[in-house]
Amino acid sequence: MRSIRLCAAVVAALLVAACGSSGTTGSGALTWWHNGTSDPLKSLWQSVADGYHAAHPDVTISIDPIQNEQFQTKVPLALQSDSPPGLYQQWGGGGEASQIKSGKVLDLTSSVSSWIGPLGKAAEGWQVDGKQYGVPFDLHVVGFWYRKDLFQKAQITTPPATMADFYTDIDKLRAAGVTPVAIGSKDRWPDAFYWDYFAVRECSTDVVKQSIKAQKLDDPCWRKAGDDLTALLARKPFQEGFLGTPAQQGAGSSAGMVANGQAAMELQGDWEPGTMAALTEDKDFASKLGWFPFPTIEGGAGDPGVTLGGGDGFSCTTAAPPSCPDFLKYIDGAEVQTKLAAAGIGLPVNPDAASALKDPTLRQVFDFSRKATYIQTYLDIALPTSVGQALDDAIANFVAGKGTPASVAATVGQAATGDR
């Protein structure tokens, strides 16, 4: 039976590839693919579409919520077809750069120039060669989420600022019988957060930018990221069996462990309080959670103000009606952004909406992101998809004990030249 099901899936996938997928866009009708398959995002986007339609009766928006993982397959197929959706979810970076090759992604540069300025550095992740092909609606920042109660138990008064402090705190937590750090290594990308952060601490921002553009991590600082990761692993900061732990699914995931007090901290994005809250019965959970930025590294060439992050956004296609960029302006306007922040969906890209962030910790993360000297998009997103995934795999293998700091850095150049 399993053979039949796999065959059916492969056949279906191939057939869809052959026939292309459909989306309807006539004059004034905007098809919208987003990943809000569940509330609160689903109803928020519906209300946004209704709100825009009320103000612009000639524009009808038909929403097609699509499960997050399906975008990976549906978007290439849609952009290959004659009728792509008018507006679709866009994470920027190298994935966006690949999609532009289809010729179906709309260059938004001139239509957004009048209002995109206040979004600041966040919008840069959606540029390709200086042109704006997508616009973010929320932004993400990666940092350490920690349990104040467990830090207290280990007699840690202030969160660590440097790696040296971090290591001391790991020892303190161990001594207090607490698992210091939870990580969801099964999913691979949480491993990459560590390596990415070590890299932007060891490499200057210029080197990071140039290396990613060239898709070659030649500078010795990239190997130092691997050395730093080796040093971290040698301290054994993670839970037992972390290579098999998922990041977000179930109480046994790394998020669940922190939520239930089984580990003291986790390096994750700003979405984590929401993820964690769903995995615990502790009503006071939010008040126990604190946040601190990734520690600095003594002697690292990286700017300590650089933060790792990303965000969610949208791109218009050439099949979209002319109202598409204006709809994006509406999404990034103070009204929608305030709703988005108030619903706890993410950090708003529009600073005017910051006051709607109810949670003081999230507000702290937001303020930190506005002060960042540079927001480096997660490397797997910043690089073209094939290269970024190859890097994530190499990092995950390295964490599992396979490979060297040099081989991880070399993966990017090899993947970029098609060498597997």
């Binding site: 056949v11 057939l15 290594s185 290579l243 098999g244 094939s386």
Partner: protein, 292 residues
């Protein structure tokens, strides 16, 4: 004339579906596999058999083939004898036989995804498995079931066995029903012991069923995907990658559709070659007449 019309009418729809959903996709995949194609724009970057060299020469894919073969061999060596033994047991008249059959067959009814999620919970560190082993005083047996690269493949095999054992047993039970009781009575009258009767009468008559089971098991083991993907994503460090998870990982997660198609074609050829050889040498006796 009328006969032809009947044939066309009856076979037509099935043939159309077969061509549309089986042959065409295979041909399209074979075509894609000759290009370096990320899924965007036209197919312009012709690489000939380059993708195939990369697939076959890659360490991770070779590892994946090895993992599939381990599952094939373990299935034959472990699942088959156990299935036969349990089927023989359940074929006897014993109290609660219907209930026992139901219990044995129940896991097979669960979808692979459900099975994988259930076992993820059972096997997580400090979970039910570990607690049960501790309770039994077998603390030393506890491993990091899904996190240890040395152990993970065997853990997955155990889960696959749990799910598919019932299928083999039901198949074999059906085969056992077809053995006339007179033969066993005759053997007993001739003084054959129970063991002799099983070896000389039952097993030879079960031959066709066992051969079909082997066929299904090998093909299934070569294509195993769902349970592995949900439980480990092929990790850690590719220790549980199979050909199918490798296909999804590279074809879809990395947007390498040309390369992924090459993997799909290789997987298809391996399965097809096995099917042909097995039909020719093992199944021919059983399907004679039916296949013409």
């Amino acid at each position: 004339m009328r006969r032809r019309l009947e044939l066309a009418l009856l076979l037509g729809p099935a043939l159309l579906l077969f061509v549309g959903f089986v042959l065409v996709p295979i041909i399209v995949a074979a075509y894609y596999s000759l290009y370096d194609w990320q899924g965007f724009g036209a197919l312009t970057d012709f690489v000939g058999l380059g993708n195939y060299w990369d697939v076959l020469g890659g360490n991770v894919f070779q590892g994946a083939v090895g993992h599939n073969l381990v599952i094939v061999v373990l299935s034959l060596v472990v699942q088959l004898p156990v299935s036969v033994a349990i089927a023989l047991l359940l074929n006897r008249k014993l109290r609660g036989r219907a209930a026992l059959r139901l219990i044995v067959f129940a896991p097979y009814v669960l979808s692979e995804a459900t099975t994988a999620v259930i076992w993820l919970l059972i096997l997580q560190p400090g979970g039910f498995t570990d607690q049960a082993l501790t309770f039994l005083g077998l603390h030393g047996v506890i491993h990091q079931w899904l996190a240890d690269p040395q152990v993970v493949l065997f853990t997955l095999f155990a889960v696959i066995t749990w799910k598919y054992l019932g299928f083999g047993i039901i198949l074999l039970l059906a085969g056992l029903q077809g053995i006339p009781p007179e033969l066993l009575e005759a053997a007993a009258l001739d003084g054959a012991s129970a063991g002799q009767a099983v070896r000389r009468v039952v097993l030879p008559l079960l031959g066709p069923t066992i051969r079909i089971w082997i066929f299904l098991s090998v093909i299934g083991s070569l294509q195993v995907f769902d349970i592995v993907w949900i439980m480990t994503l092929g990790g850690p460090a590719n220790a549980s990658t199979t050909m199918a998870t490798y296909l999804i990982d590279h074809g879809f997660k990395r947007y390498e559709f040309g390369y992924g198609s090459a993997v799909a074609v290789v997987l298809f050829i391996i399965c097809f070659a096995f099917a042909l050889v097995y039909q020719r040498f093992a199944l021919r006796r059983d399907t004679e007449g039916a296949m013409g």
